[in-house]
Symmetry: C2
Subunit: 312 residues, 2 copies
C-alpha cells in the first residue's frame, strides 16, 4: 500500500508535515509506504535535521503549491503540477491508494471530483467530521461543508456514507443514523429536512433512528448525524470555538479534550472513488500522523469498495 501525503499543505507545512510523516512511519508496517509529495529538497533537509533515514519514504517532487486562500477550482485547473494536483494525478493513476493534505480544503474537494470523481450513483460526495460523545465512543457528522445546498436525496446518501464509515473504519456495528433537526417529531424541520426524514425512515441501507436536535449531538442516541453542509459547517466551527475557549481557559476535562482535532487526523471526503482526507489547516505533526493513519485505515477497510457496493 502506498499512501500519498501532500507535504506542502497546511499552515505549518512543510515542517509539520514532514515531522508528521516521521511519526506516521513508526506506526506503519513495512509494506505501507508513505509517498511524500512536494518539494523533495526541503523534505530531505528536514529529515536530515532530524537524523531520519530518507529511504524510509518515497518522494514525488513538485514545485508548485496551492495557497490556502486560492480559489479552489481556479487553483486546481491552473496548477496541475502543484502538490495537490500531482497527488490527485497519482491517486487517479493508482500510484498511491490514498491521498491526504492539510492544505486548501476546497482545492482538495475540487481535485477529488475532477480526478478520481464521484462513485457512480453518488449525487454529491460529502465531508465528515468527528463529533465527540459525552460518554464513550464518538459520533460522525456528515456533511460538514462540501454541500451548502442539498436535496433530500443527498441527505439520504450522506447517511449511507456515514453508516459505512462508522461501521468499517470505526468498527461500530450497525451504526445508528440520525437526521439533525429542530425537533424530535417526524414532521419537524425546514422543507429539506421534512422531505429527507421519510426517505431515511424508509431506507433499508442503514439503521435510521430518527431526528437528533442540537442538544443531542454529544449524546449516545446515534453514531452518525446527517445534515446539509451549511448546518454541519456552522456546528463544526461552533464546537471548535467551544473547545478553543475551554482550552485557552485551561479547563482540563476528558470530554473537552475529545474535541482536539489532532487525534482524529482529518476529515475524509466520502463518495469519491478513492480514500481522500482533508486535514485541518493548523495541523501539527501529531495531526498529520493521524491523518496518514486514517488514510491507511480507509484503505485497509476497503471503505471505498463498500460504498461502491452500496450504490450498485
Amino acid at each position: 500500500m502506498k499512501i500519498g501525503l501532500d507535504i506542502m499543505g497546511g499552515d505549518f507545512a512543510p515542517q509539520a508535515t514532514v515531522l508528521g510523516a516521521i511519526s506516521a512511519y513508526k506506526a506503519l508496517k513495512p509494506d505501507q509506504k508513505l509517498v511524500l509529495i512536494g518539494d523533495k529538497d526541503i523534505a530531505l533537509g528536514i529529515l536530515a535535521e532530524n537524523n531520519f533515514d530518507p529511504d524510509s519514504f518515497e518522494y514525488v517532487h513538485t514545485t508548485e503549491v496551492i495557497g490556502m486562500g486560492e480559489h479552489p477550482t481556479k487553483a486546481i485547473v491552473q496548477k496541475p503540477n502543484s502538490s495537490i494536483g500531482i497527488g490527485f494525478k497519482l491517486l487517479k493513476e493508482g500510484e498511491i491508494q490514498a491521498f491526504s493534505s492539510a492544505g486548501n480544503s476546497g482545492a482538495m474537494l475540487v481535485g477529488a471530483m475532477f480526478s478520481v470523481k464521484a462513485i457512480p450513483g453518488v449525487l454529491r460526495p460529502a465531508i465528515t467530521s468527528i463529533m465527540p460523545k459525552l460518554e464513550e465512543g464518538l459520533g460522525i457528522l456528515v456533511d460538514v461543508g462540501a454541500n451548502a445546498d442539498c436535496k433530500p436525496e443527498y441527505l439520504l446518501q450522506f447517511g449511507i456514507f456515514g453508516s459505512l464509515f462508522a461501521q468499517y473504519v470505526y468498527n461500530i456495528p450497525n451504526p445508528r443514523v440520525a437526521l439533525v433537526n429542530i425537533g424530535e417529531e417526524e414532521e419537524k424541520g425546514n422543507i429539506l429536512y421534512q422531505a429527507a426524514h421519510p426517505l431515511m425512515k424508509e431506507t433499508k441501507q442503514f439503521n435510521f433512528v430518527g431526528n437528533a436536535e442540537g442538544r443531542d449531538m454529544f449524546s449516545g442516541i446515534a453514531d452518525v448525524f446527517v445534515c446539509d453542509g451549511f448546518t454541519g459547517n456552522i456546528m463544526l466551527k461552533f464546537a471548535e470555538s467551544f473547545y478553543d475557549i475551554a482550552h485557552k481557559k485551561g479547563i482540563k476535562d476528558a470530554f473537552f479534550d475529545k474535541f482536539n482535532y489532532e487525534q482524529y487526523g482529518g476529515s475524509p471526503i466520502l463518495g469519491v472513488n478513492a480514500p481522500v482526507v482533508v486535514g485541518h489547516g493548523i495541523s501539527n505533526p501529531e495531526a498529520i500522523k493521524n491523518m496518514v493513519l486514517l488514510s491507511k485505515n480507509m484503505v485497509e477497510s476497503a471503505l471505498t469498495d463498500k460504498i461502491k457496493l452500496a450504490f450498485q
Copy 2:
C-alpha cells in the same frame, strides 16, 4: 404599565411562576403592575404559603391550560380560555402592555400571530436569544426557531429586529449586525445566504459588518447574529448542551456561566404588535422574574414602536 404573566406555563408552573412573580414584584416600580393569568385559587394558595400580600398583583382567572406537548395552532384555536389564549386576548385589547409565558412556545408564537399580529411590513416575526460573549457584553441571535424556511428578505428584516432590540433594550449603540455563514467572503453560503448578503450589505437600516462563522459566535465581531430559524435553533440547543455538560461537570467559569438562561429570562418574539416573551420550559423562579423584567424593559424602551417606525 400592566405586564401579563402566564402562571400556568412551564415545567414547574404554577409554583415557579408565582414565586417568580414575587421576586419580580420586588424589582418593579409601584406603577408597574403584574397581572397573573391562570388559576387564581392556586396562585393565592402559593402566595399565602409564602406570606405574600395577594394585593400586590392583579389576577385574571382562567381554568384551561395548553400543555407543553400540544399542537400549537390546534391548542390556540380550541382553547381560547387557556391562560395563553386569555393572555393574548388581554394583550390585543390593551389590558396588558406585555405578555410572557414559559409554556408551549409554539402556542406563544401562533397566539401572537393570531392576536396582536405581525407589524405591517414585517414578512415574518422572529424569535431571539442571547449568545454570550467570551469577553464583555452579549450577542443576540435571531431567528432561533420561528422560521425554519426563510427567504433572503426575512433575514434582512431579522437584522432590523435584532439591531433595534440590541440598541433599545440592551443599550448597545449602533449595533453591529453579522450574517451567520460558512465563510468570511461575500459569496459564501447556500443560496439563501448568498442572496441575503447583498441585501444586508446595501441596507441603511442597520450597521452590517459581514459574515460571521460558527467560530465567531462568542467573539466581539458583532452584536447581532442573523440566521434562519433552522440554523439558529440548532445552534442554540447545541450551545445549551455545552453549557449543561460544563454545568454537570462542575466546571466553574464566568464564560460558561453566561450561558445560564435564567439570567436572560426568555426569548422575545420580535416583529409583532406588542412585547411578547417566551420563557424556557424549565424556567425556575429566577428565570420567571427575569422574563417579567425583560417584558418590562421592552415596554419601557418602546421597542415595538421603534420596529413599527422602521417598517413605515
